[in-house]
Amino acid sequence: MGYDRNRQNTGLLALRVESGRLLAPASVAAEIDNFEMTPEGTLRSINGPTPILPVYNPVAGLFNYGRVHGVFHALLMEGSRDVLLVHSAQQIRVLNGWGRTWSTLIGPSGSGAQLEADLVNTDTPQYPTQFTQTPTGIVIVPQNRSRAYFYDGEAVLPLGYDQYPAPPMGYGPTSYYDADPANDIPNVYGFMGSGSATLPPSYGHVDFGTGQAGTIVADPNGVQAGVLGSSRYQAAVQWIDYFGNLSPLSPRSNTVSIDTQNIPLAGTGDYRTPDRWLRAFLWGAIPKGPQGTIGKILCHTKDMLNSGTSDLYEVPGNMLGATSGSYATIPDNQVTMYQYNRPDTDLVTRPPEPIPVPVFKVCAVAFGRLWIAGIEGDPAALIPSMPGRWGTFLRDSEYFPDPTGAEITALCPVPQGLLAFTAVSTFLVVASDDGKGFQVAPLSNTVGCVAPSSIATLQDGTVIWLGRDGFYRFKADAGIQNISLDIEELTKRINNVRAKQACAVVDPRTREYRCWVPLDAGRDNDFCFVFDPISEGWRRRTGTELPVAVCVTKDHRQYVIAGGRVTDNLSVTRHGVWLLDHEVQSFVPKPRMYRLETSWIEAGSSKDVKSGKMVYFWFRETDNTSAEIEVYRDWRKTKTVYSNAVDVDLVDPEDVPPLWGTTAYGQSTTPNQWIKRRPYWKKVAIFVPSCEVYKLVLKTTSPIELIGLSMDELPHGGSGRVP
């Protein structure tokens, strides 16, 4: 037995983070569950969540969402349009606050959706629906091999084009050949064969003017006034949609030809000045584009036999002197014919050559482009869009960061460029030295990212994500670091089959990085790892919510919004969209268990016996209830020293503050003023005689705020019990 006068105090233990290490400092907890750091540096119990769309109609109850796959908030239209999107069941909806409901943007037939499409509603392991904001709208990427979509706050369409237009059909001028060369009739009509009263048929139809296509050369024999040379032309079509995306070029059309014809000398034969021998063509069967198409760009070759090129050029719009400023040759989606009557010199701009928009899984905006990856059929490819045309991807613009061909699993823009991850490697895409392209630099060949939605950026620019064996961060000056070694015991329990469905967010209010993952055999994201960048350590939050996706509102509110399931106080679990860390009277969530467990105290000197005597809790008053304390000893958590636990008050019984529900308004005899909650100490006698180590567990479902704790111990010198 030791003397009480030898009692020692551990000093204040301000537990803020936890560790799974057996030998951890006493100032690091073994578990801190459902607490967050306050601006005053204390640990306070978290509250909420609350439904984004509260119950306005008690009969109807909460909105029926169905299984949630993704949620996203953005400000569009120069910040004036406040958009909250949710992908639930087979629909992507947008919140209409003015109607206290959601309207359907994309959904199956009969859903009243702006755009009808069948989205898959499944619980298979998959990424959450990916959303990426661009300067003009939101790219929506449902998983399960779905097309990507684009929403600008008003209109929603598939992202770009996933199909080729059909080629146009060239009509005339045509030639009529005869077995007898003397009867050959070179192409005589610019159009359909009917001339006009004022112009001969060979000039074309009067309604289309005189021709301008063709090549006239001097007669090499010096006999004729000149020769209309043999020429060949082809055309193709490209669509343009409401958002400015370009379709792939159609295959080339049939060849339209002009055959050699002599131009008679003045006063002989069918004499006209040589420029009157030029031709015009009619292009038909110009395909109409799919929904969202607002124009068609006709692409035309120059004279392929005489110009030295068979490239296609955009036929400019016809506004005000044939400037090329118009967005399309045919600025509508109705006209299917076009009368082409251009000299080759009108053709100056080569059309981009996009590929059909592939099915992809992840995307990010960097360098003014949308980068897509996880591409169906080409999983190792990384493809940038044209600048500003978020759904137009050019041919041969792919990058393949990982030489082993591993699938790109995630993308994240950083100040240095764009991080591209596979599950086992990380790369940084930066602008090339000449500024015209990009180059890919490997950052790690062993560390990657398994869940694109686990990536979040701290306020200091540090990027954190979930790798195969824990959480990593990237800082420009420090490279890639594993930051979860202290909780490796926990991270090893992440269900690696479903790790891809992890979702994370950085809460701007607490600065915490929170990542929800499925633990053990969990199918849902039932466990939240919380990284506190201030304390450089981890906490956790559990119970109540099972988010599938989380986001932060882009406006000044900076709310953390989650889509997924939440259990209420009646143990009813609902799918929905929730505001975390807020609580209203109309919805009471299932009470959380706030739990703090110390590490094994005195583990470093566990061969020396000591007795735990007293524990002092430094609380801040929060509720007129109590918390339980459990004490364990000697490395075993199977038997508590206090089997029925000891309660500790969550307000100071010697200075009870005015309380809701009991304080009468206006009475001077009882404390009835608004107060600022005070800190207070609470002493609890524990008696853990002659132990090697001991551990305290503090738990409650009531609001609680903890500043710190300390213990009195009595060391027993030289009393070790090593067998």
């Binding site: 009557n341 505001l579 509720d623 503050p657």
Partner: protein, 219 residues
Amino acid sequence: MAWKYPKYNNTDGEPIDAEAINVNFEAFIRETQGNLNEHNWASGAFTDAEDYEIGACLRIDHSYDEVTPMAAQTAAPANIAAIVSGTAYQTIAVYDWDVVDSTQIICDTALLWVIASFQHSVSNDFTRYGVQYGLRLDGVVIAETVTGSGGRNTDPNGEGLDGDGTNMPLVLDAILPVLSGPHTIELVARMCTSATIALPPTAAYWMVCNRELIVVEMH
């Protein structure tokens, strides 16, 4: 902006905490000081225009001319001036833009919805010269509002409307952001060149009869 939610749900037994109460109230008070947006107003809350004082939200500048074209558009072109009543606009015989109707407003920074409704009417030469119309803001023709083609390539009669469009009703409109200050809004027209006659059409013109120019100043 958008919806706000209280941070704390105060329940019985908790201290009557001034901080929690303030946090809950501040969330709403700050919103009402300039952050309300479309989500904060019930659908249809502001659709009854009778509830507004005139000019409270929209200020409308409106001018018009009633010029009735007579029935004799097929009359001899030389007598065209005799077949209209009132003051018809007559396009000038040059290729440059000419003002059909105009108005000047002084406004704050706003969106202007400019609407020009008019009747493209008779010409004294039905076959040779086209005409184009457009809107012009502070001397700049809004290219997107210009009617017809600007290229001769596909139109031997010159660009724009011709005799086939006689008595055609037309409306041009555009929504234009403007900065505070005076602004001149005009409906303009130009005669176009001819494929067969290169000289200015000194004797050829079109007329615009009934016409109306509306400028809606939107705040």
